[in-house]
Symmetry: C2
């Protein structure tokens, strides 16, 4: 399957060309103005011509071999058209037709997929709006594009065609491609992504996603992008049940669990944004800046105290840092500003330099030369139609002067969105200085940028343990079986014995106090049936406990299979932690780590990360917990053995990855974390297998 | 002091009129184009004329009595100008001059304040940029306003002049007034606020605030606005230490504690936004919609599944609700849409109605008629320069038709900001249909709106306990004194005795087990010095404990004054809660309530609310805790006595309000909350007085 023939064709046939309102008419108009127009052919046996252009009866009549065809026919006619195109040597097509999986007809979709596979045909769609290629000026797109092609370095892949059109209409965004992937019947989002990651003309890739189909390929391309440091910005719906339900009915794709998706994105260092406007503006920011900030640290300079205060507040609230200025930076700036100005970061310059572009540039330059600063924010609202005398003219001159040094990125932070003076915007952005959205949005973009800058692909395991054909039935192992399974894998499990006869108790060498618990595959909640006795102080008590738990289990669960009594040492109390696994059907085992009990249950304070993972990743998970304080010496208490906990998390992730096809869930709850150097111990474990 | 003469003068003198770049020139140009221009006079003894207009030597030379003067003189000349103006019968002035409190010269500022008080002169400033009055077309403003006056219903008060100018430049916002308050030397923000709350021309008030000066008046005007349901939208900097430091150096005003401020705003139902763009857009939304939604519940209708999914996701993430449609609403909509459309809320209409304004209006109408819905979102991106054939034309026709029924508000949710087609915007907004910012921002505005709609002024105590002249020295009471103080106020304190002689123990009738604690004003952390013995089972153990705690205290704190030993019943354990008070220097006692221990310390899970408060407010505080689950029957546990806890919170707030001038801090920690009907009990209490 060759995506290049699809996206950069040298000749195009429009099958079913017509001039009726809708996708057909729009496609014809879009393509007629293409630079390729002498190699664009209309095919429609019922029409002599459309928009003055000759219509051929069939694709085999065309005077040259066709790279790609756009099929404007309804569902029933599509397979025939594909056959004909393939017979004529065409290997790529756009199919607009809908009524497939998204409305329930999965069979037709499967048949079409098979047909394309047979003919090695690269088909965009179904249920799509085609694509816009600005590099060659080809708008093979079903909605009218009211804009001249303008080559840019942002590529967009969107399951929704309308969002492609809206993004194309944003005048300050310049794209290489906008691809509406629709149902991804044949070519998946992951395939386009792979193409674009290796496309030299594309600097940033934006993804509007409802779900993905091929998690393995998705993982592979994310890993490739991470290694190339090519930014992928992702907006995915389905964060909430309402959104997810709608996504499913729209393209019939599996939304998967949103939290797992989020964890995957984090692992591979892609940028997940919260809304579609952020998707556009984040792509724009990455598109315009000529280099990444060398470090995730800001400086800001504004003309008024009010604006400086807002930059300080908003940046700090977003978790960004304004480092103290180096003494010589401060000195250089002090010389440039009036005496009453306070030199600090962020900097209230006062309005005095607003009319002096050269000195304004020198202040930027001073920030650029400070090794602790990674990016310079120039605070100034750019609105529509600025008057000649507006300070934005000398200020933007200053920004351009400084930007030409190509040392560190400069951005303009506006305080209001409203609209933008396009002359000013073009002047600045052609020099690599983007105008950001107003502060709430603008600082959030900088947060994303700095997270991207902070990510190191070499510190992450760039793989997932994606399951293949797991069973559907869940079977829970007993605590004993669960622990044995973990022990077999090499995970340390506290000393314990299973006893079937009371007299075996006499042979046990164990340190008291101990606990006795019923062993039964049929009893999951042992304490609910009186199947647990704790704090047993000596052998005599242990013998009594043996009778009691067996009696309780038998009398309350007469049908349960009783495999004996588990005896284990009472663990000294420690900080209670839960380590668990949930096997996501798409992305495989997700490892969870959190403080136990109410912390995870009420406060949802847990970190989720895909298996497998390394020690650094495990430590990062643990440190990301709000309750991490409890493990790091809270209120003068001892520091917990975080290292040992991280080791356990790595081991559990390894076990889960190895068993990705058979593991459903795993809970080690609680794990007791002891003071530094004293390790951790699991008090209970539960494995649920999928068969 | 008469603000009307200042803000709506019939005659104006510009003292120090000139044509040099800066505030002087800009003010003259701004005022020369005013409809009032025959009643505007320039005063400057050094000039014959400025911009062709005659200059008088002094204000007393003017041919009519002057309502207001704009003083464009530096600091040293201001008092003389004020004197002269007052002598000429003028009672209002704008003073631009800076160099007062904001740069450290508090004395000059105090002198000017006193001078204005003597002459009953309403002075805007110092260190301000003046004001814009669009009602009468008067721009008494020091920066050039490149816009015709256009009367609107939004009033802005901003400590920063630049922000006034930027807001005026937003073409889709129409204002009654924009007031740059500067240092508030004479007229405070609170005074303008009071004027505007009673101003019939103003529907919404926007406030850009660095701090307030007169908390009592602020409270009074917020209460008046709450009762009138006149929305006040507040953006305040100083959320973070960096922002706060800058705010202080900018206008010399006290930022106060941001969290207390937030609690005050909540109590009075004002709307606090997070950034300055939100301030503008929230004012705009409230300005345009013709009525408030009758209930805080949304419906949304979009042309594509992608957009519908985004509305579902973003609204739900913002905590907003899309109610299920009533059966006849669903039926009406089903009849309007093609058969394959799924009728739901939010509604994916598909594109079929995009060209049919009338049917589009009927869908809006169906939502409007549904009693469970409060507001209708029409999802459609409005960009710049829409082409004639764009669906926005029939769609906006439909919105206008439905809006004219004046039943419920309709808003347009765009998916991208970019810029807006002004023709479409004016068409819609003149009918009361605002175009919101793209989804992240747009749904946040709806969240603010719905919070405002949900607020009921009658359910709140619209007062604060603002302290007057509290002392500066903090003095801690002992646990015993603290509890006695609370008991005196009528708060229930568990049975306890203070014993100074060991033999007194024999007289105590108390239920065991008990605790013994050292009583000393000098020992705050009793257990750290061995001054606490718990779980004492009988009189014999109690006698031993008496000796032990006295011995420990004396040996470890030889200089401490020992007042005896406190004996109290060991309280049965319950859910641990903290109830506390912090006395904010501006807004008085702030009552805190949170789950005890790590919940409040690590997770910061606490609610803050100003005293006094009523039972509903106390219950709301408790229910707002993330850990509320622990009090409401967590994991099959018993429901806690939330009612009794609310009673305690109300009592504590009452005590704090009564002692606002002497209380510094109060901690009741822990309070044990017992199962429903069994009340609460305080285990420890600490009062810190300020003397």
């Amino acid at each position: 399957m060759e995506l290049r023939k699809l996206l950069r064709p040298s000749s195009i046939a429009v099958i079913g060309a017509n001039d009726k309102n809708g996708f057909g008419k729009s496609t014809c108009i879009n393509l007629l103005s293409s630079p390729l127009k002498d190699h664009i052919y209309f095919v429609n046996p019922r029409r002599e011509e459309v928009f003055g252009k000759k219509c051929y009866d069939k694709i085999s009549d065309l005077p040259e071999k066709i790279d790609m065809c756009v099929i404007i026919l309804n569902k029933t006619l599509v397979p025939g058209a594909i056959e004909e195109a393939a017979a004529a040597g065409c290997r790529a097509a756009v199919v607009y037709a809908s009524g497939y999986g998204e409305t329930g007809d999965k069979e037709a979709e499967e048949q079409l997929r098979e047909l394309c596979r047979q003919h090695d045909m690269a088909v965009m769609g179904t249920n799509c709006a085609g694509f816009i290629n600005n590099l060659d000026g080809i708008f093979a797109f079903g909605m009218l594009v009211n804009r001249e092609p303008q080559a840019g370095n942002i590529a967009i892949i969107s399951q929704s065609g309308k969002i492609c059109l809206n993004m194309m209409q944003i005048r300050h965004m310049n794209y290489s491609y906008l691809i509406s992937s629709g149902n991804s019947t044949c070519i998946h989002v992951e395939d386009y992504l792979e193409y674009l990651i290796h496309d030299e003309d594309t600097k940033v890739i934006g993804l509007y996603l409802e779900g993905i189909k091929d998690p393995e390929k998705f993982t592979r391309v994310l890993a490739a992008a991470a290694k190339k440091r090519k930014p992928i910005v992702i907006m995915k719906v389905g964060k909430t049940a309402k959104g997810s339900a709608l996504a499913a009915s729209h393209t019939g794709s599996l939304s998967g669990s949103d939290k797992s998706f989020d964890a995957v994105v984090k692992k591979f260092g892609a940028i997940r944004v919260d809304d579609i406007e952020e998707l556009a503006e984040m792509c724009h920011l990455l598109s315009v800046i000529p280099m990444l900030p060398p470090k995730p640290a800001l400086s800001a300079m504004c003309l008024s105290g009010g604006e400086t205060g807002i930059c300080a507040d908003m940046g700090t609230l977003m978790g960004l840092s304004y480092p103290e200025l180096a003494p010589d930076t401060a000195e250089k700036i002090r010389e440039l500003l009036p005496g009453y100005a306070t030199v600090a970061n962020p900097l209230d310059m006062s309005a005095t330099l607003a009319h002096d572009g050269e000195r304004y540039a020198q202040v930027i330059q001073a920030f650029m030369d400070d090794p602790s600063i990674g990016l310079i924010i120039c605070g100034q609202t750019v609105l529509q139609h600025h008057e000649k005398q507006d300070v934005i003219y000398p200020m933007s001159d200053g920004m351009v002067m400084a930007a030409r040094k190509k040392k560190k990125p400069i951005v303009v932070m506006s305080f209001f969105n409203s609209s933008r003076d396009e002359t000013i915007r073009q002047k600045l952005e052609s020099e690599g200085v983007p105008i950001l959205p107003a502060t709430g949005g603008g600082f959030k973009l900088l947060r994303y940028l700095m997270d991207f800058v902070s990510y190191d692909p070499d510190a992450h395991t760039l793989e997932l343990a994606i399951p293949h054909g797991t069973g559907k039935q869940n079977v829970a192992l007993s605590e004993r079986e669960s622990k044995l399974e973990l022990k077999k894998y090499g995970i340390e499990v506290p000393e314990e014995y299973v006893v079937t006869e009371k007299d075996q108790l006499d042979e046990i060498e164990i340190e008291y106090p101990v606990a006795a618990k019923i062993v039964s595959p049929d009893i999951l909640h042992k304490s609910d049936v009186g199947g647990v006795k704790l704090n047993i102080q000596n052998r005599e008590e242990l013998r009594a406990a043996f009778d009691e738990v067996i009696y309780n289990a038998k009398s309350r669960c007469p049908d349960a299979q009783i495999d004996g009594v588990l005896v284990n040492r009472m663990l000294p109390p420690g900080v209670e932690v839960i380590v668990g696994v949930n096997n996501d059907p798409q992305f495989g085992p997700m490892v969870l780590c959190g403080l136990g009990g109410v912390f995870v249950e009420v406060f949802k304070d847990a970190a989720l990360y895909p298996a497998p993972l390394n020690r650094e990743e495990a430590l990062h998970m643990i440190q990301s917990l709000k309750g991490y304080k409890l493990l790091s010496g809270y209120r003068g208490g001892k520091e917990g053995d975080v290292e040992a906990l991280a080791d356990l998390v790595v081991q559990v992730a390894g076990y889960a990855a190895e068993n990705k096809d058979t593991l459903a869930e795993l809970d080690i709850n609680p794990v007791f974390v002891y003071p530094k150097g004293e390790g951790v111990a699991m008090a209970d474990a539960l494995i649920v297998k999928r068969r």
